[in-house]
């Protein structure tokens, strides 16, 4: 192992250890804050696979996140007793189905046309969810109770805030390592080649659309997983989370934190929520004005994002 690789894994272990200890030492409000950042961070990472690694800006990630939520809700409301693993499975199937659909139609388009298509698709799903009240609960969404953490024959325990945090942390960490490996695989290198020079990538023999479709599907699955976690944490699924503003925020996490690093977008999410927390105390609902100003300044002065300077080391 090279020295910088050792440095990476030491950093990884330290951050992971801090996140393991966090719920034991933080007050309730901040514990919940950290858990939610992990969940939004996973959503932001899933988008980074497209924005940072493939060079495709999606404004439709709220659809995958939302379908993950509603998929989990479907499992938790229809299957007795509520089963955690089924919630994850349904959420992934929901998000995956939407991702196949979106990927098939949107990857034929490039740049702003891709972005607009993803946005339009996510708004279509928003409208369907918002108006199909009998099934989705419409405006009010769906409430449900939390499933237990159960592995048949091994363990069955109700989640406490602390164990739920650990569960979320485990899922997000494994997802991070999985995404990182995907970005470093031959497939991931093709995505980065597409980002660097799409016509050249075609010319050396890659069927670019197929790679993009698989990238969107993978991204959608991880976004859906984040939606499942959010549903588990909050015990509801609501249409607001399918709305395109959520997609926009996730793009902002990526830009603030550093695209193409995977962990940068998590840091971006944390930074964004901290700013929101801070400014909403002084500016109440007008917090977006100072946050917007800071975002603009960052785009001008730190265009590579908070962790952009670590980009090479994080991807080695």
């Amino acid at each position: 192992m090279t020295r910088s690789a050792a440095g990476y894994w030491i950093g990884f272990a330290v951050v992971l250890a801090l996140l393991v200890v966090a719920p034991l030492v933080l007050p309730e409000f901040w514990r919940r804050f950290v858990t939610e950042i992990l969940i939004w961070g996973l959503l932001a990472m899933s988008l980074d696979l497209l924005i940072g690694y493939t060079g495709m800006v999606s404004f439709g990630h709220s659809a995958f996140f939302g379908l993950g939520m509603y998929g989990a809700a479907a499992a938790l409301l229809t299957v007795r007793p509520p089963n955690l693993w089924l919630a994850i499975l349904y959420g992934l199937v929901g998000a995956g189905a939407v991702a196949v659909f979106v990927a098939y139609f949107s990857t034929r388009l490039r740049d702003i046309y891709f972005a607009i298509t993803t946005l339009v698709f996510s708004q279509i799903f928003y409208v369907i969810i918002f108006t199909w009240t009998e099934v989705t609960g419409g405006e009010n969404g769906l409430g449900f109770s939390q499933p237990a953490f159960a592995i048949p024959g091994v363990v069955s325990a109700r989640f406490t805030p602390v164990t739920l945090h650990w569960f979320v942390l485990a899922v997000v960490t494994v997802s991070y390592l999985g995404l990182r490996r995907i970005t470093q695989s031959p497939f991931g290198m093709v995505l980065q080649s597409i980002r660097e020079n799409e016509p050249r990538t075609r010319a050396i023999g890659y069927h670019v659309e197929r790679y993009k479709i698989v990238a969107v599907m993978l991204s959608g699955l991880f976004a859906g997983l984040a939606g499942v976690l959010y549903a588990l944490q909050n015990k509801f699924a609501a249409p607001d989370f399918v709305f395109f503003l959520v997609s926009g925020e996730v793009v902002v996490f990526n830009v603030m934190g550093g695209m193409g690093t995977l962990v940068g977008p998590v840091a971006g999410a944390a930074f964004f929520f901290l700013l929101r927390e801070l400014f909403s105390r002084f500016f109440t609902e007008y917090y977006l004005i100072p946050v917007g100003i800071i975002f603009t300044l960052m785009v001008i002065f730190v265009p590579q994002g908070l962790l952009g300077f670590l980009r090479r080391r994080l991807n080695q």
Binding site: R181, Q184, S185, P186, P199, R202, I204, G205
Partner: protein, 265 residues
């Protein structure tokens, strides 16, 4: 490396004497129109296996357009392209690449933000393992070995960790050729490989092309007449999209029509 070492290819103009080798590339009546402009006009030619074929002609003659058709970037308005006995007319670029046709570009076309090694490695990977998602790309040693061999061949073996964007112009032009070579082509199309190069860089490039030509067929567009005369077995002269002459360098030099349209301009 005398041009007459190779037998004469079948010529579209009827003197098909001694067409011993079967052509690896053949076009029949290739025509490309951009609106009212005919960029390629009924181009019929055959390039035998192992030949270095130069295409010359004034700017706008249709040379790059011909390359764009052969590599699938453009679909010809009419006509056929046959490669290795197979009709490849209108196939998309990635399919053409998989048929073992590669090209370098008149305007440098690389992955500027990737390392020199990665530029070539990703090209080599397009033949093997490109759909693996779970193993690290560095675990596929065969691909890396292939990439390193190509970098050595194009003289960039000691630059593999540099960012491609930081190479000199001449080095980028060689990387361009390296990317094409890494895809293991049978036919390599070089579009003005010495464009913008110094005299010594040009000389090195000619040497490089001569070396790689030992195992593949080369189609080269070049403005530098010294390079063309020194390398080509056969020269095809394009003018306003039409083939106006074809022959050995000596024949082309002596051809009054060619002097009229090209050499004197």
């Amino acid at each position: 490396m005398t041009p007459d070492r190779l037998p004469e290819p079948g010529s579209p103009h009827g003197n098909g004497r001694g067409a011993v080798r079967s052509p690896i590339l053949r076009t029949e009546g290739l025509t490309v129109r951009f609106g009212g402009l005919t960029a390629l006009d009924n181009v019929t030619l055959a390039v035998p296996h192992g030949e270095i074929r130069a295409m010359i002609g004034p700017n706008g003659a249709g040379k790059s357009t011909f390359f764009n058709c052969v590599t699938g970037v453009l679909r010809p308005t009419s006509g056929r392209i046959v490669f290795d006995g197979e009709d490849i007319t209108g196939l998309p670029p990635h399919r053409i690449s998989q048929k073992a046709i590669a090209r370098s570009y008149q305007i440098t076309n690389i992955l500027p933000g990737a390392t020199v090694l990665e530029n070539v490695r990703i090209a080599a990977q397009s033949r093997h393992h490109s759909w693996s998602l779970v193993r690290h790309h560095r675990a596929f040693v065969d691909v890396i070995d292939r990439a390193r061999a190509v970098l050595d061949a194009v003289g960039l073996g000691d630059k593999e960790e540099e960012l491609a964007a930081n190479l000199s112009h001449g080095e980028q032009r060689h990387l361009e050729i390296g990317i094409a070579l890494a895809t293991e082509p049978k036919l390599l199309c070089l579009d003005e490989p010495t464009a913008g190069m110094s005299v010594s860089e040009t000389r090195a490039t000619v040497e490089l092309i001569r070396q790689i030509a030992t195992d593949l067929t080369i189609l080269i567009v070049e403005h530098d007449m010294e390079v063309v005369m020194g390398l080509a077995h056969t020269i095809t002269v394009l003018h306003y999209g039409e083939v106006v002459a074809e022959g050995t360098p000596a024949e082309i030099q002596a051809n009054p029509r060619v002097q009229e349209v090209y050499l004197k301009t």
